[in-house]
Symmetry: D2
Subunit: 427 residues, 4 copies
Amino acid sequence: MILRDPVHGLLAFESEESRCVPRLLQTEPVQRLRRIKQLGVTSLAFPGAEHTRFAHALGTAHVMQRLLARLRELHDELPYWQRVTSERAEDALSAALLHDVGHGPLSHLFESALPALPHHEHWSTEILLEPSGPVFQALSRADAGRPMRVAELVNGRGELPYLARAVSGVLDVDRCDYLLRDAHATGVRYGAFDLDWLLQSLRFGEGDPAVAPPLAIDGAKGLVAIEEFLLARLFMFQQVYFHKSTRAAERMIKSALALGASCLADGVALDDSPRALAVAARGDRPSLGEYLELDDAVVWQALRAWERASHPVLADLCRRIRSRSLYKTIELFDEDAARPERAVDVARDVARAAGLDPEVYVQLDVAEDTPFSEDAAAPVVVSPHGPPRRLSEVSFLLGRLAGETLSKTRLVLAPELREPVRRALAP
Amino acid sequence: MILRDPVHGLLAFESEESRCVPRLLQTEPVQRLRRIKQLGVTSLAFPGAEHTRFAHALGTAHVMQRLLARLRELHDELPYWQRVTSERAEDALSAALLHDVGHGPLSHLFESALPALPHHEHWSTEILLEPSGPVFQALSRADAGRPMRVAELVNGRGELPYLARAVSGVLDVDRCDYLLRDAHATGVRYGAFDLDWLLQSLRFGEGDPAVAPPLAIDGAKGLVAIEEFLLARLFMFQQVYFHKSTRAAERMIKSALALGASCLADGVALDDSPRALAVAARGDRPSLGEYLELDDAVVWQALRAWERASHPVLADLCRRIRSRSLYKTIELFDEDAARPERAVDVARDVARAAGLDPEVYVQLDVAEDTPFSEDAAAPVVVSPHGPPRRLSEVSFLLGRLAGETLSKTRLVLAPELREPVRRALAP
Amino acid sequence: MILRDPVHGLLAFESEESRCVPRLLQTEPVQRLRRIKQLGVTSLAFPGAEHTRFAHALGTAHVMQRLLARLRELHDELPYWQRVTSERAEDALSAALLHDVGHGPLSHLFESALPALPHHEHWSTEILLEPSGPVFQALSRADAGRPMRVAELVNGRGELPYLARAVSGVLDVDRCDYLLRDAHATGVRYGAFDLDWLLQSLRFGEGDPAVAPPLAIDGAKGLVAIEEFLLARLFMFQQVYFHKSTRAAERMIKSALALGASCLADGVALDDSPRALAVAARGDRPSLGEYLELDDAVVWQALRAWERASHPVLADLCRRIRSRSLYKTIELFDEDAARPERAVDVARDVARAAGLDPEVYVQLDVAEDTPFSEDAAAPVVVSPHGPPRRLSEVSFLLGRLAGETLSKTRLVLAPELREPVRRALAP
Amino acid sequence: MILRDPVHGLLAFESEESRCVPRLLQTEPVQRLRRIKQLGVTSLAFPGAEHTRFAHALGTAHVMQRLLARLRELHDELPYWQRVTSERAEDALSAALLHDVGHGPLSHLFESALPALPHHEHWSTEILLEPSGPVFQALSRADAGRPMRVAELVNGRGELPYLARAVSGVLDVDRCDYLLRDAHATGVRYGAFDLDWLLQSLRFGEGDPAVAPPLAIDGAKGLVAIEEFLLARLFMFQQVYFHKSTRAAERMIKSALALGASCLADGVALDDSPRALAVAARGDRPSLGEYLELDDAVVWQALRAWERASHPVLADLCRRIRSRSLYKTIELFDEDAARPERAVDVARDVARAAGLDPEVYVQLDVAEDTPFSEDAAAPVVVSPHGPPRRLSEVSFLLGRLAGETLSKTRLVLAPELREPVRRALAP
């Protein structure tokens, strides 16, 4: 199978060991990813961000393929039993393709709105291990142990730590693809980094000889590649993932889903509610089949139908979503950001005075990310002369960023409240 | 308003005369374009092709903005009454943004499946001119004559031929944006061309002095820019628009819609059928409101519901579409392509023998495009020395392509028929 | 060895069989290529075109490395003795790196000005095969037969036709690199093509089973890649290689070198004349050492010194070159292009009347290229169904371009002559 | 004048006020920049880095042109006398084109090797203000005050601070072009930043109303653009400007030039020594004419000739340079970097023992840069709500980088000394 890809140019899955990719692509759970956008509602702020989890899954498998080729250039230093065999390569490619197969609609929104619903990692595992399911059957055709090994890898575990972390870790194929793809689709150029150079910089580090070594970075050539990778991630958080309009829209939809679930839990009928939502609202766990019926369109259809709900706040919220009269934000700085309760109280008083439900129409949104935390899993830097060193020791930039947390604190509120709240907050 | 765009980088609509863009963007008919993919089902073959008509509309307005800036560098040679005034600029920007506002779901598929339904050009005009509609109201706020002028421009007519053709012509802002955008999203690099250079190459040609002159191309610098533009279009047709999987999927969906309409016309109830479809199936014209309820999701939902239709062929077709067991193609060459009837007959006999409806499961698909036809509307080439010349005279490439027709003739058929038909056709 | 390259991003020559590349790079004849620009005087018209034959040699070796990797994905279909062994890979990489090692200064200018001087192919062979030379020694270190095998490959011959043609043929690694590199450096975007896709499209065709098969193109996926490759070449000829200012400057320098040689042949002393020039002027063949002293700087230094020559035309020409008062061009069309003698006569009469040497100050320049000629060496198109077909049969574009010749006929003349000649030529 | 540029695509200098660009380009001092590479000897480490100061000068003028267009979108807020008039635009374009016109050969190498020689800023001013020179004449043709105004701007001074700093400041058109151009030519992708977005982010800040305001950055949209710009600079320093091979080669050439000058000062004749060097070696100031004869080729020719010098160290150094047996480096860390004297002493002892001049064959190289220092000239961040804020206050990244210094401390030494010195330094 050969495919055009806007990010990597050419995707070719033609070797014997990559045949698993086209086979898995045919399954309904993977095809379902075509109907889930990678970035949820981000296209409201970045009109190009329409790319799907399906395209990302393919791209991730491609990056894994390139990583495997690179590992094979390096693995002569390892004992035979620690090398990349064909079986391991096929496991890794399958895991890369399937790493997000259990994702719910609208990125992380759906699961975060329904606390009772298991998270997407749970569903991924279930999709992989359900013996009657098409993914399990595609995986186990030639090798009965594969589904379990792939499920382990998807969760960042496995026989070879360097391979497991490459599926899920600081520097994994998932991140490699999504940073490039999200940057390409949004038009934010800062998300790009040099994948060729990053792969070329990989080395094997030192580790417990009883298990395989972790991956490390070559100090002479590779430092800048990993710096750029981590900065690309930081820039994407700053520009896209923490974008105020996206965060505001997410808050609204999450509130609508939670309100809808609470109506359903109270026995109120709501047209076009997805079955999985109704089940989860009652506190039960949806079946796998019910879960797999979920996609972005199903949620949008529900939100549209709920415009006619009897619950006035729910109906209002859904109408606002549909007509794009999105919540606005007020960013809090300094003291207000450190202790936002006062600002929230002030804003909710304004909402109350305006006759709006203060919990729904005024919300606090704290977005946080630590661009680089140098924990045990972070790659070290190796060089032919001298011992391995930590990234923060060697890198001018990472030394100054390690452990630092990027944080945005915002009031998210109905647009008609912004000016009154601003005035009420002014000293 | 400033936006990131993956194709043009930065879209800025901040000047006085471009304020119309954000205003029109707010209207529901323009927002609806977010829910219609630019390339219909093409993402089945090119997983990146998820971009929407909304993003394309914005990009088209951006190209128009750049074109207007270029025209103003040139228009000193024209009499005052032929220049780009602020009013004309606002008309042109509005027309660029709205040129496709009446588009139906799934690119051209929907309208082509329902012969009784007016084409999207009709609906665009109606959206622009319906006095109670939000687009008309946004347009006419400051200038009662604007809706009509914009509607004229959208149809390639208007006071200034050079501006009218820039909205709809051989070298229009619509094409400029969609070629670049489709290339970017599919990953097909051949669709790119040099927009900067093309704009810089524009000149005013000679025309009837009573009206404004048409645009022309500067011979010394611009020839290659227009060659590349026309080749980019050719390459996109070859690679993307005529792609066999896309064409096959389109045939299936078109058949399903036509069968659905015929069921509805016969009074058979079909769940989740869009109202506009039911109305058109009866031979009536849907109301504008009914038409605007259509989007891609509405059609996919119908196709999904029709899997349970009582009409067995319709149900089968919809199930095949959903499970991606798409029709396959056999390309016909030479004699077979020139007179495909024999091949169609042979294939339909095979279908009949297999118990499949021959008209539905075997179809003939002839895709044709003339990459460059040098009609009266084609720009001419001007130079300071010597008279204007036709493109085909001056260009090595275009001289060899003018009037030539690219044509692909294919049998499109159910996958289980391909091998038997191939055998039956073999000499 | 790992290097940054502006065209390919990352050049890595780290495998066992690519160690030859850094070893050969150290030799003085290869280092000399740093001092010869790839495009001669083209930077007069395209200020970015400063890239050297050294960078091109490296890039060509990189493309060969990628081609070898692709061939190894395919070569299982071949008998063992026709496959890409390590020895053959090292031969091919060496040949790619060294293919232009005998190039003279200023691209093809120097050798074309001195008919008695052997062409660069001769010097390449001599550099490879001179037993006392550093290139021969680097090549023969591990394998005494290598210099001869590499020399054969550089000339497009060798045991395996598919490998020999990849060094020098319609679709060779030299062209692949220079088209991309020249496009990158000049800023002409039309020269780019999709190298990944092109490599992926390669197949083995059918051939005499006694020798290895030629390379062919996969019809389903690869047609557009080869079309784009050939069009990129055409565009580069139209835009860059046939650029009027470049051609004019080349004519001037060629005339100056020829006049200088004729002075030297007549025994006139000329300061700073390169020894190889003086020897060739006498009709003798320079030694290899003398030839290798030539580079761009040596020629520029001579031209600068000759401004003070006693020969007035030579001195004038050199002064014009240095002060960039370059010759201008008048392009001839139609009848004038078909029979340019009349135009040349008219122009030379004008020159004579102005007291200028008519042969030097008026020249005829006919630039011609056949973008695609479908000879025996052109790759054919293969597909799993049906026989191999010729490119012109299958490709809409190439069918219309095959055998067609692009031609530019121009008068090249001193700037002060252009207007008078234009007037004299006007009907 | 329209030109292709590999960095910006299209350079067009066609408006009335940009006519100065082609006029100045014709002058010999500007043409001389074609013969000086932008990055000196960097092409030894990055084979693509052959771009010239001439191409950079053109690119800088182009960025200025775009900046002027942006300023004109903003300048309505200013009183008339502070706006961008045609006269000021022409001054600014001229200054951008000419900002480096006095540069010596091999980037900063030449002037740093000859302490007595005035720096390039001096020569730029002299070239601009010498009444008999072609640049002065081109500038003063229409406006006698222009040469002086342009000279002021080149030195970062002028009537309008926002314009003066745009020629020479933290965020100037020089940096904008060279970062992009150096990144493009070396193939280091990290040097790219988003010029469109940066320009769009500019605002006028607050300043003394008696003079024009400085430029500022829009906080909502522009922060990331300035962050990326400053990081691009940091990455270029890390990767390219501080590259060990480049630094080592620069040290060698600087030593050779200094040794050559000292020989000349001592009255030793050295073939092919540039006149300006001989004059400066005697402690005199070369004439402008002598200075303008300098270019890269002149220096390389001298170094080549000096291989036959009687001074054995000078001859050896020149031979090493030519045969690319470049000095190697040992990077010093921690304590060794803080107090490098011990390492230098140890290394020089090793050199002495090996019979090599310790001062020449062992050198200490400390490369330092402060990527972002928030002095009075740094732009501030403005937003519609709240007061202007400093970059380090608002930016997560710049807050952590402000005032921090990147530093590389290295021993640079003859290759045969590296291993012995490493051993001698080992604890």
